[in-house]
């Protein structure tokens, strides 16, 4: 599957790279859905890496597509989780007794990478030392700036806040701390005048 090219944007919008092996005694890899492909590409670059790796993988809609391939790559530990929310306690446990020098690799959707990065940063790893590679869905995790509620997997602009019901437009302004883009009321100056929703990158 080819990688999506995000259009050039403002300075707060995350830019994703391509995972590359780095030196370190321990390697933590967190991916969802097609993000597994990025981990498999990473494994192919350095045969020794997986023996020191702990993978947390959330297949989302991909079901069993990548599970056996990941297992075959030979990670020291492999966890398959039903959802990010179900995995986060395990992630915190792993980070709680990790040591400096741990390498963190994130792959998959923006929502997954953003939330996992937030956990790693809270544990004491500088965000710029964490590698990311986007794969799969371009859906966004959006925060409503008005009610503060998060709406997951937003694919259209504008969209309706799943908490307060306001019509929000999708900004590229992004908060690492919230792991979310900012949604702002689109019809504040002309209530009721809401343009039809379009796919975000159309």
């Amino acid at each position: 599957m080819s990688k999506f090219q995000f259009p050039e944007s403002i300075a707060s919008r995350p830019v994703y790279g391509t995972l590359a092996p780095r030196p370190g005694k321990a390697h933590l890899m967190i991916a969802d859905a097609e993000g597994a492909e990025a981990l498999l590409d990473l494994a192919a670059q350095d045969a020794g890496l997986m023996a020191k790796a702990h993978i947390l993988y959330i297949p989302k809609g991909t079901g069993e597509t990548y599970v056996e391939k990941l297992r075959a790559a030979g990670p020291a530990q492999l966890y398959i989780g039903p959802s990010y929310a179900a995995s986060v306690q395990r992630l915190r446990r792993v980070l709680s007794d990790a040591h400096m020098g741990l390498q963190v690799y994130l792959a998959g959707t923006e929502g997954l990478m953003g939330q996992a990065m937030n956990e790693a940063v809270s544990a004491g790893i500088p965000h710029s030392a964490i590698q990311t590679e986007h794969r799969g869905s371009t859906a966004r995790r959006m925060q409503c700036v008005h009610c503060k509620g998060i709406t997951e997997d937003v694919t259209t602009d504008p969209f309706v806040c799943s908490h307060c019901g306001l019509n929000l437009f999708v900004r590229d302004h992004y908060s690492r701390r919230l792991a979310a883009f900012q949604g702002v009321c689109i019809d504040a100056e002309d209530p009721g005048n809401v343009p039809p929703a379009k796919e975000i990158y159309s």
Binding site: G24, K25, M100, G101, L102, A123, G124
Partner: protein, 328 residues
Amino acid sequence: MSAAPQKARAGAEKIEVVVAAVVPVNELVTRFEFRRPDGAEFPPFSAGAHTVVEMHDDGRTRLNPYSLMSDPGDRSLYAISVRRDDEGRGGSLYMHRHVKPGDAMTITYPVNLFPLDLRARKHVFFAGGIGITPFMAMIAQLEQSNGNWELHYACRSAALGSYADELRGKYPNKAHIYYDDQEQVIPLDDLLSGQPLGTHIYVCGPKGMIGWVKARAAALGWPDEAVHSEEFLAPQPGAPFEVRLCKSDLVIQVGEHESLLEAIERAGVDAPFLCRGGACGQCETEVVELDGEIVHRDHWLDEAEHASGKKIMPCVSRFIGKTLVLDR
């Protein structure tokens, strides 16, 4: 806007002080304690800060940076420790030979180029020799706020280990001392491998030690943001050279024992500076014309900038060759 335009002055704001004590620490190192002539408090400072001490040495002005080593919680005094450098250009010799209790001196407000990262869960300090000084202030600050720290301090010998006994006496479980003459070596790889997430390391000492710690940390996967270092470069003597300052329309001579920045100042040209040790970037100057080789000695410009020959840090760097024209 131009409500009340004032020209920025070169260097940090100044403080008049009186030398309150001159305390020999060992054969090479002396501590100087300053108080304010009116008995007022000093401005608070953050651990890791330095001050630039102004010396009037037989007609020439020397401005040397020294780390503040006193307790930041004690606003009654500022203290520095100066290692005598018999081979250097004379600033440390001036301090050791001429500065006496009761002398009036001028120093600058504190400037911090080596701050603690206050996000750190744990601070690990690596000191070599006189590099202990900023850590004296950092330890005092962290003790005040119940911070989590440990120190690994390499000295040549017990006789030359400035403050080593004091530190080990006060903090037997946190201060670890290694004497070169007893072939004790900091177990760096072990220390770097066992630190919890959120640990930051700080290194201050000779160039070789800084390079060693940075290289091992990188090899063991430490992020750059968690590795902090400070090395003040004393400007090194070198062959005299000539420079043209095109904005001022002046040709100046830089002597063997003065820096390019000092020569510019001596010519009456106001040039910006802060640290005078190649670290802060304030004195960065554009090179207009170059026929020869710049001897770059700073930590500020990157390799590409050094290679380009388009910029120079006059506080520490020198020139060998035919023509150097600066935009100053």
